[in-house]
């Protein structure tokens, strides 16, 4: 058994992670609903298909994390650093992403309905196939690459509310 398997496919929703080293850990397929990981450094971790709904990940360092297919409904990701994060197909309905940094993140086929993306960095973020309904883009930074991955309707909203880099 690989030491990193300890956290895989577990119910971790009641675990206190305060004294745990989390960098590069494998939490895939686990239940982490509502956990408090505020301001923690979790970069390179595997959170694929993990239930992180209602969790507090505000201010967390999450670059290079794998969050493919993760449940991020109502998750607090405000001010989180999600550079180059793999969030393909993640369910981010109603997530709070205010001031987060999604530089180079992969959000293809993610569902971001009703998510708050105000003040977010979306430079080179890939939204190909993502659901972007009722999004708050106020003050979001974006570039032409970001625009090329979203629908005409969302493009209009992002241009109206955000700032081109």
């Amino acid at each position: 058994m690989n030491p990193s398997d300890v956290f895989r496919k577990r119910n971790l929703s009641k675990v206190n992670f305060e004294y745990e080293e989390l960098i590069g850990r494998d939490f895939s397929d686990s239940n982490m609903k509502g956990v408090n990981l505020k301001n923690r450094d979790i970069h390179n971790a595997d959170l694929s298909c993990t239930d992180l709904s209602e969790a507090d990940l505000s201010g967390a360092i999450l670059f290079n994390v794998k969050m493919r297919g993760a449940d991020l409904q109502q998750t607090n990701l405000s001010s989180a650093k999600l550079w180059d994060a793999d969030m393909y197909g993640a369910d981010m309905r109603g997530a709070d992403n205010r001031g987060a940094d999604l530089f180079y993140a992969d959000l293809r086929n993610a569902d971001l309905s009703n998510a708050n993306l105000s003040g977010i960095n979306l430079r080179h973020t890939n939204f190909d196939g993502a659901v972007l309904e009722s999004i708050n883009f106020e003050g979001a930074n974006y570039d032409s690459h970001t625009l090329n991955t979203i629908s005409d309707e969302s493009k209009k909203e992002l241009k109206k509310q955000g700032n081109k880099w």
């Binding site: 590069g24 450094d41 970069h43 390179n44 360092i61 670059f63 290079n64 550079w83 180059d84 530089f103 180079y104 430079r123 080179h124 570039d143 032409s144 690459h145 880099w165």
Partner: protein, 50 residues
């Protein structure tokens, strides 16, 4: 001449971008540097999208 020079720089930037994409670091300081370097390339590439 100017157009050819611009295209040459454009190709150089795309090559540098590809290199950085292939060499993603794992440490926090290296990742900050990666983001900074990639940001600069993207900023210059934006000029070619106008």
């Amino acid at each position: 001449m100017q157009g050819r020079k611009d295209e040459h720089r454009h190709q150089e930037l795309l090559k540098e971008k590809k290199e950085l994409e292939k060499n993603r670091p794992h440490g926090i300081d290296e990742m900050r540097r990666w983001k900074h370097d990639m940001g600069k390339i993207l900023q210059e590439l934006e000029l070619y999208n106008k």
